[in-house]
Each structure stands twice: as C-alpha cells, then as structure tokens.
C-alpha cells in the first residue's frame, strides 16, 4: 500500500512536504495505524511521532488519518485506508514541532483556564467526600476524556480562535466539574465562561463528536453549560 506522510524538520526543511512510501503489510494483516508507523520508522528512523500506551488510554498518538482525526493505536487500517492509500498528517490547527508531533501549549492553556480540579471551600471531612450513585453517574461521559486533542483540533472555531475559545475538550472538562456534586465553585466557574468567546464560539457543528476516539459528546456538554448559564441569568 501507499502511505503519504507529512514531514517537517524545522532545522533542515524550508517547508513541510508529503513523503510517499510504498510498504507491504506483513501477512496482509489488519494492523493498527500505530503499528504501520513503527514499520515506517524501521525504514526511516528520522520519522517523528508521539506514542506511549498503544491502547487508547494515554492520548499521545492523536493524528489526522485520511482527513479524520483519531488515535493511531486504536484505528485499524481497514477503518481508514481508501483505495490502498493512507495520508497521515499531524492534528490540524496547532503549530508543528516536527513531522507528526504538534505543540499542544495552546490546548493545555485552555484546559488550565477551566480550573480542572475540585474546588471545595467547606472543611474536609474525616475520610472522604461522599457522592450518591446518582451524583456519581452525572460524571459519566465526561471523566473519560484523555486530552488527546482530536476534538479541539477538528473544530474550526478552535482553529480561528485557539487563544479565546476554550474548545470542545476544555468545555467537556469544564462541565465535568460544573456537574460534580462535591464542587462548590459553580457560580465562579460559570461567571468565567460567560463571554462571547469561551463557550459561545461553539456553533454546534459536532466535528468533535464525530472524531472523539472515546465516543464522548462535547457538544452535549456545551449545551448543558449553556443551559446552566441561562438558568443563572433568567
């Protein structure tokens, strides 16, 4: 099969380019894209990409495969390869450090803005803060986010305003703490989000939902934040 990989080494290249590599898959097996990358790296050790857990838990190997963001380690070739060709690019919208490795500083800056930790001003109990099973269930579909950035880098609103729009990933996390029964900073969290950019740049096109490798729904979480803002203001 033919693999076309985005290559860019800022120390040697004037501009990024696509490198075409013909490769035979051993045994014709339906391997994961990450395994394919290892085969490519065996051929050309200068190829750079991030990877760690190789099982969709760490969120390191988010990349754009034939036009769609996803995790290379849990995406089988059969799911993305078309006409025996695969185009691999870094996640779009963020600066490229090298080849498939992007600089995620802006993504993390947005995550930091939503204060991704429990805030509770009441005295700590002797053992732990308890939740009912129903209160705990509110966090399902939110806490599973692994911050791979597949969603935010698939979002045009994030591409145009990565410094102002929190992005789908950050907003899913924002709702994760807004929905937590143990958190007492709900009013302050909502006040921080009520501007024309942080939340309201979302126009509901749902690219985030279609690419999330964990099957989460940031658009739904953003809708819930909007309803909370509305409740507070009317």
């Amino acid at each position: 099969m033919l693999v076309s990989v985005y290559r860019y080494n800022p120390e040697a290249d004037d501009a990024p380019y696509m490198q075409d590599i013909h490769i035979d898959i051993p045994g014709g097996k339906d391997i994961m894209v990450l395994d394919l990358l290892q085969l490519l790296k065996d051929k050309d050790p200068s190829l750079g990409y991030r990877r760690s857990c190789r099982e969709g838990v760490c969120g390191s190997d988010g990349m754009n495969m034939n036009g769609k963001n996803g995790l290379a380690c849990i995406t089988p070739l059969s799911a993305v390869v078309k006409k025996d060709k695969l185009v691999l690019r870094p996640l779009p919208g963020l600066p490229v450090i090298r080849d498939l490795v992007i600089d995620m500083a802006q993504f993390y800056a947005q995550y930091e803005k939503i204060k991704p930790y429990l805030i509770n001003d009441q005295p700590a109990p002797a053992i732990e803060r308890l939740q009912s099973p129903e209160q705990r269930a509110e966090l399902d579909g939110l806490y599973e986010c692994i911050l791979c950035a597949c969603c935010s880098t698939a979002c045009p609103s994030f591409w145009w305003n990565p410094d102002k729009f929190i992005g789908p990933s950050g907003l899913l996390q924002a709702y994760r703490f807004l929905a937590d029964s143990r958190d007492t900073a709900q009013a302050e969290r909502l006040a921080d989000l009520d501007d024309p950019f942080s939340v309201f740049r979302c126009h509901g096109i749902m690219n985030c939902v279609s690419v999330c490798p964990k099957g989460l729904n940031p658009t739904k979480a953003i809708g819930k934040i909007r309803n909370m803002l509305l409740q507070r203001a009317t």
Partner: protein, 115 residues
Amino acid sequence: MVTNVTSFGRSGLYDWMIQRVTAVVLLAYTLFIVGFLLLNPDVDFQQWQALFANTAMRIFTLLLVLSFAAHAWIGLWCVTTDYIPMTGLRFLVQAVTGLMTFVYVAWAIHIIWGV
C-alpha cells in the same frame, strides 16, 4: 473570561439570546409576508399600500428591521472575529458594518413611515 468591547452585548449569553429571539421575529415576519402573498396572488398597489399604512404593520416592520440589524451585527461580528486576525482591519470592517447597519435602519424607518 475573555473581554471584548466590540460584541453586541458583551456577554456571550446575551448575544446568544438576542440571536435566537430575533431569529423568531424574522421567521414570523417571513411567514406573514409569504402567507399574505399566497392569500392575495393578484395583489395590487392599493392593497400593498393599505397593508403598510396600518400602524400594527408598521410596528411589526420596525420590529423586523431592528431584529434584522441586531441579528446581522452578531452574525457578522462572529464572521469578522473568525476570519480577520489583523486587529486594525477587523475593527475597520466592523465599523463599516455598524455604520451601514445604522444607515439601513434609519432609511428603513423613513420608508416605513413614508408609505
């Protein structure tokens, strides 16, 4: 919190609400006019003038013009902040958009009460 002085209502929630409420007004007016034309397929000048000479229709039309202005401002403000990263040029385009919107509103009022 991201601060911005050029948006319609400063608060994102306020802009969002205005955008939705004005959209309902635009829809209601469109349905009314389309309905009127369907019920009066051979509408003549006298009927059309009588319709707009009615004070209720003038108020409805003024509501439409103001809704249209607010809706357009919020929409175009979004487009300019997405696609014009250069602050000076963006402010210029926004200023021209605001001026044109004001002119259209004033002109529309003149037309509505000139029938």
